[in-house]
Each structure stands twice: as C-alpha cells, then as structure tokens.
C-alpha cells in the first residue's frame, strides 16, 4: 500500500463507494453474542445500558452526514443502529482475539483489528483505515516533537511506540518503555494526558520513507494520544498503550476520565 503524504481517502467527507454484495463466510458465531446481548439487555440498568451502546448523538451525526437534508431518522432506527455498532465492535474484536490467541499474544493491536475486518469481509474499510492510521502516526510524530510545549492536563507524558501496521515480525523486537497495565477492569485509564493540538501539520519529508507503514528506526519513536469530545463539551483524553514485555515504568497513570453526559 503506497499512500501519499495527505491521503484524502480517509476524510469523512469522502466516503468509500458502495460495497458489492459478496458472499461472506461468517464462520464466527454471532448468535451466542447476540443472545448474550439480549440477556444483558434484559437485566441491565439504565447506566449499564448507556455504557453498552454508542452515544446516540454521535450515531445520529454520522447518519445525517450521509443522508440528504430532507431525510428524517426515527428514534427506533437510531436505536437499532446503536445496537448494530456495538455488535460490529464485538464481532471484529472476537476475530482479532482469535488471531492473538493463535499467535500467543495478549495485546490486541490495530493491525489485528484491520486484519480481522479484511477476514470478515469488510475489505473496503481496510484502505481508508490504513491511510487514517498513517496520518495519525505522522501527527503523533509532530506531537512527540512538541512534547516540550504546553503541559498536559496534569498527566505525565512519556513516549510510546506505535506498532507497525503490516509488520508482525517486528512486533517481537519492539520493546518500548511504556507504562504497563497488566489488568484493567474497573474503568478505562489514560496512559498519558496530551492536549490535542488544534492545527493539523503535514508530516515531515524524512518520515515518509517507504510506502508501507514502517516506522523509521533512526528517528524518535512516535508518541500517541487520543482525544475525544463528549456531548457536554468535556474533553476526555485517552491514550493507552500496552506492551506485555515492558515493565520499566511502575507509575500508574492518572484516572483522567470525565463523566459522560446522559
């Protein structure tokens, strides 16, 4: 895959073309997952029901971007698409977990997610996701260079490597010094809080060597930080990177999680 510096294919305005109706061998078993969702929905409270689905505001916004302006969306349609998105995440995650289990790994990476999508038939999603990942990593390079700039929101910042997309062999050689979190079951924690830079900068020329998503060894490792905006305007920063072989940093990351609006 050879991507230019500014791939337009991953822009939300430019959506991929219509998917052809191809016969997909669904060797995964959706019925047990569906039954589990039904069982959970029967006994879940309102809060857990909210946590199980995607926020309806985000789903409605994406739907309205696709539909013409005069189209209306009923509430039950939004609700069923919320369910479909959660099922899609569980479906792809289950396939990625199978691959991790086969290869005796414990960390689900973005490469596993993209591989699972291509295996399950979402081939048209792989190219936009690859371009999206490359731009994200290039912006993370600039974010790493600007580490001496304004401080984050009370979180310690340390460099973490982003794994290459199509290089599974190199995964065993990458042992970055990241904060290791062996178990996380209560709430998602931010690895390090980085305030998102409002201006998008193009990638440097020397970092764009090669068409594949291979990191250049001579330069500093990429730093990664994810940011999202809740409906209430509160910023929730999530940047989390696990590596089973690394245990150099013993500091637990701060629990920077804002309360989502209901």
């Amino acid at each position: 895959m050879n991507n230019p510096q500014n791939p337009k294919a991953s822009a939300p305005c430019t959506l991929p073309p219509e998917l052809p109706k191809e016969a997909v061998a669904t060797d995964e078993a959706p019925p047990p997952m569906g039954n589990n969702n039904n069982t959970e929905s029967a006994t879940a409270t309102m809060v857990r029901e909210q946590d199980r689905l995607m926020p309806v505001a985000n789903v409605s916004r994406i739907m309205r971007q696709v539909l013409p302006p005069y189209a209306k969306i009923s509430d039950d349609a939004k609700e069923v698409i919320q369910e479909c998105v959660s099922e899609f995440i569980s479906f792809v995650t289950g396939e990625a977990n199978e691959r991790c289990h086969t290869e005796r790994r414990k960390t689900v990476t973005s490469e596993d997610i993209v591989w699972a999508m291509s295996r399950l038939g979402f081939d048209d999603y792989v190219a936009p996701l690859g371009a999206f990942l490359q731009r994200m990593r290039d912006d993370s390079d600039h974010g790493g260079e600007e580490r001496g700039g304004p401080a984050g929101r009370g979180g310690s910042r340390r460099g973490s490597s982003s794994l290459p997309l199509h290089c599974p062999q190199q995964m065993h050689h990458l042992h970055p010094a990241v904060c290791r979190r062996p178990h996380q079951s209560v709430s998602p924690a931010a690895g390090y809080a980085v305030r998102p830079v409002p201006r998008p900068m193009p990638a440097s020329g020397y970092r764009m060597q090669g068409g594949d998503h291979r990191s250049v060894g001579g330069v500093a490792p990429c730093s990664y930080g994810g940011a999202l905006v809740q409906a209430g305007g509160t910023q929730h920063v999530v940047g989390f990177h696990d590596d089973e072989a690394s245990s150099s940093s013993e500091n637990p990351p701060p629990e920077g999680r804002a309360a989502g609006s209901n």
Binding site: M54, P55, V80, E83, C84
Partner: protein, 127 residues
C-alpha cells in the same frame, strides 16, 4: 475543542488522534472491546486480554464507515417504500439484503420482538 461540524476544517482534512475529535468516544469503544475480549479470554485461557492504544482509534474510524454504509442501505430501503423517514424496518431490510451484515440479523430481529427476548417473530423479511 468543542463539537466539530461536518463543514469545518477538521473533517475536510481528516480526523486524526491529536488534531481533532473522534466521531465516537474511545472509552466507550474500549469498554465494548474489553467485554468482548473478556469473554474470549475467559473461555480460552483465562488470561486478561490487553488492548493497544491504537485499536479504539481504528474502531472509531471503522464504526463511522460502518454506520455510513448501513445508513445508506437503510435509506435505499426507505426510498423503496416512498417515505422520507428512516425506520427500524428499513435498517432490518438493509441488513437482510446484504450478505456482509449477516452477523446483525439477530440484532435487528431480536429488537423487533421487544423486551421479551427470544419470543415473538422469527424469520426474515421486512415487517
């Protein structure tokens, strides 16, 4: 940075991890992944499955593409019915007509049955 509109510069230039908001919250995606990973890990080897920091970001983009695709097909079903409001039945029709969305058949049919769970309608086709 607050909620970005579809016509702002962020969406035209593309959403990335540092320069703009994501279409879907990463914490929620990670929670769903963690629940799914927990089931698989408990059934297989009992160990905890860890999630890379990039995986929810990839899912944020992938779910956006997925919702867009499903919405377009549901809108096609809405136009077949000569209506302008997308209903649940349009989504169910789109799911049944597309082989790619076979894993969603239980979701759309079970939801139509209501809160009773397994009872009610079984079978394909628009209601």
């Amino acid at each position: 940075m607050r909620q970005a509109r579809p016509y702002s510069g962020i969406f035209c230039g593309g959403v990335s991890a540092r320069t703009g908001p994501h279409a879907l919250p990463l914490a929620r995606i990670k929670k769903i992944m963690k629940r799914s990973a927990g089931e698989a890990a408990a059934a297989a080897d009992g160990g905890a499955r860890m999630i890379s920091g990039e995986a929810p970001v990839v899912f944020s983009k992938a779910c956006e593409l997925f919702v867009a695709e499903l919405t377009r097909r549901a809108w096609a079903a809405t136009l077949d019915g000569k209506r302008r409001t997308v209903h649940r039945e349009d989504v169910a029709t789109a799911v049944h007509n597309t082989d790619l969305f076979d894993f969603l058949v239980d979701v759309v049919t079970a939801d139509t049955a209501g809160g009773t769970g397994g009872g009610g309608h079984d079978g394909n086709g628009a209601l």
